[in-house]
């Protein structure tokens, strides 16, 4: 077995050893329930408070504005459904974008069935939400704008501060799904006028099954899970102490050296993008060259299909992903790639590679060579490529 090259850090990340180490005592030693009266339970409570403060500090928020959840999808569901319910007397209109994660899109579609109206904003060819369309979409009945901080497939960083300003000027709540962005780019909820923000632990070298929702003080959304007074009565259930401790540690690590870590990733990402575009004919980069997540590269290779590429990369020990169909059990290509205007047949041939801290230049070189070889092999097999070459030969 060859050395594995893991280039799917947008899917999930390795839990950092320091994170695991921080979590361990809370399994076997300090296993008390944080809600208990005795001193032993207070140990757990202290740990939760410390993690909450760390996370709040990373966002420019107050500790009591951080609510732990079981992950990013729960935070998205909670923010959108609870805001819709709480502000229904004011209106029934929600604005989002076409390129959101399904945790947001499917939640909005669910609310449409409950009588809410949803505007799905278009994006430009780089995946950037159209601000003039956003302004035009605002109605007196608009109660929520939910637009992601950065796209999970093509890495586009959205103009969140501008969106927040527009929302604030109109007195509309603004939620952002920052699952991919948190820990990768600086976020300040006050400066950016963010009212709610979702994030997840396992995308930033924390454990799976833990995330949080930031809810600005004064935003009146209710509990999503009923049955206890945990999380200021807004999210019942005995706290996932180990998960929370792990998340706190992961955030501490992620923000403490964000600049140097992401600078390194950015450099390798640009090296990867440069080599692929130069050395693989009929390839394109999806998303902007500059304003994208530091670890994200997303390509389309004409005349081939993404799943075949992924299986062949896997055979060489390289883990990547594709927005393509097959991986998600649906036959449609990525909704994000269609939204940026790619035709179906090109959108089917996508490859997302997302770097991590331990990826080296050698890893990138090995990956580029593999991609070149595999794309050529699949093209040799492709009737689309055959047609294209014959057509060109005639000219």
């Amino acid at each position: 077995m060859k050395k594995m090259i893991y280039l799917d850090n947008a899917a999930t990340t390795r839990t950092a050893p320091e994170v695991v180490e921080a979590m361990l005592p809370y399994f076997t030693e300090y296993y008390g329930n944080a809600s208990s009266i005795y001193e032993f339970g207070a140990k757990s409570k202290e740990a939760i408070t410390k993690a909450r403060e760390t996370i709040a500090g990373a966002l420019g928020a107050n500790a009591e504005e951080i609510y732990f959840t079981a992950g990013g999808s729960e935070a998205d569901n909670w923010a959108i459904k609870a805001a819709a319910e709480a502000y229904r007397s004011k209106g029934n209109h929600i604005i989002t974008s076409r390129i959101e994660h399904h945790a947001v899109l499917h939640t909005c579609q669910y609310l449409e069935k409950q009588g809410f109206e949803v505007t799905y904003l278009d994006v430009d060819e780089q995946g950037v939400v159209k601000l003039d369309q956003l302004k035009a979409a605002i109605r007196p009945t608009t109660i929520l704008i939910t637009i992601m901080f950065a796209n999970n497939e093509i890495g586009t960083i959205e103009p969140v501060a501008k969106i927040g300003k527009i929302a604030r000027e109109h007195g509309i709540l603004f939620h952002t799904d920052a699952v991919q962005a948190f820990g990768q780019v600086p976020i300040d909820v006050d400066a950016m006028n963010i009212d709610m923000l979702s994030a997840s632990g396992h995308k930033l070298n924390g454990p799976k099954g833990i995330g949080f929702l930031y809810i600005r003080k004064g935003v009146k959304i209710r509990s999503f899970i009923h049955g206890g007074a945990q999380e200021r009565k807004r999210r019942a259930g005995t706290e996932n102490v180990t998960g929370i401790v792990g998340l706190g540690k992961a955030v501490e690590l992620a923000v403490s050296h964000m600049e140097e870590r992401t600078a390194g990733e950015r450099e390798l990402r640009d090296y990867l993008i440069g080599r692929i575009l130069k050395e693989v004919p009929f390839s394109r980069l999806n998303g902007p060259r500059e304003l994208r997540l530091p670890n994200n590269a997303n390509f389309c290779f004409q005349f081939i299909e993404g799943e075949s590429l992924l299986i062949m990369l896997d055979m060489e020990g390289i883990c990547g992903s594709s927005g393509s169909a097959c991986t998600s059990g649906s036959l449609d290509p990525s909704h994000v790639l269609l939204a940026i205007g790619l035709p179906h047949e090109i959108a089917h041939g996508s490859l997302r590679l997302t770097l991590g801290e331990d990826i080296t230049r050698e890893d990138i070189d090995v990956t580029v060579e593999a991609v070149k070889r595999i794309v050529a092999k699949l093209r040799e097999m492709s009737p689309l490529y055959e047609d294209f070459m014959k057509k060109n030969a005639k000219r």
Binding site: Y110, I304, E307, I311, M315, A325, L331, S382, P383
Partner: protein
């Protein structure tokens, strides 16, 4: 998600390529749904498929079903080739995930399309062969959220 046989045919596709001046060529599927198969048949004067090649744009299952279909029709008569159904292709591959069943339909259809082309070129009628649909896209069920 795939059986060992599917993986084997994907990794080492049999009869991949093209036949120049083939007796019959058939292309089915569409790029929109993500699969296109092209079959080339070389049929002798006795109506026996002497050689067969394929080219496929598609996922692992699409490549594997094309490859298996070529194996199942090679050396067969036209009549025998017509009996190679999508079910036979699937069984020979030890099954496919439900979402990939359409790939085996495409393989069956690709053979039929190539045979249809052969029949047209030679002005003959093949008993039991209907004009194949050139575009197979299954209606997907609406998911409920």
């Amino acid at each position: 998600m795939y059986s060992e046989k599917v993986m084997d045919h994907f990794k080492n596709p049999r009869n991949m390529g093209e036949i120049e001046n083939a007796s019959g060529v058939g292309t089915v599927g569409n790029a929109k749904c993500g699969d296109i198969m092209r079959m080339f048949l070389d049929i002798d004067d006795n109506g026996v498929i002497q050689d067969v090649k394929f080219k496929t744009f598609g996922c692992g299952a699409a490549v594997a079903t094309s490859s298996m279909a070529t194996e199942l029709v090679k050396g067969k008569t036209i009549k025998e080739a017509l009996e190679v159904t999508n079910k036979a292709v699937m069984e020979a591959l030890d099954g496919l995930p439900p979402v990939k069943v359409h790939c085996s339909l495409l393989a069956e259809e690709a053979i039929h399309a190539a045979l249809w082309d052969y029949a047209e070129k030679n002005g003959i009628k093949i008993e039991g062969l209907e004009k194949p649909k050139s575009d197979i896209s299954e209606e997907e069920e609406e998911e409920d959220y």
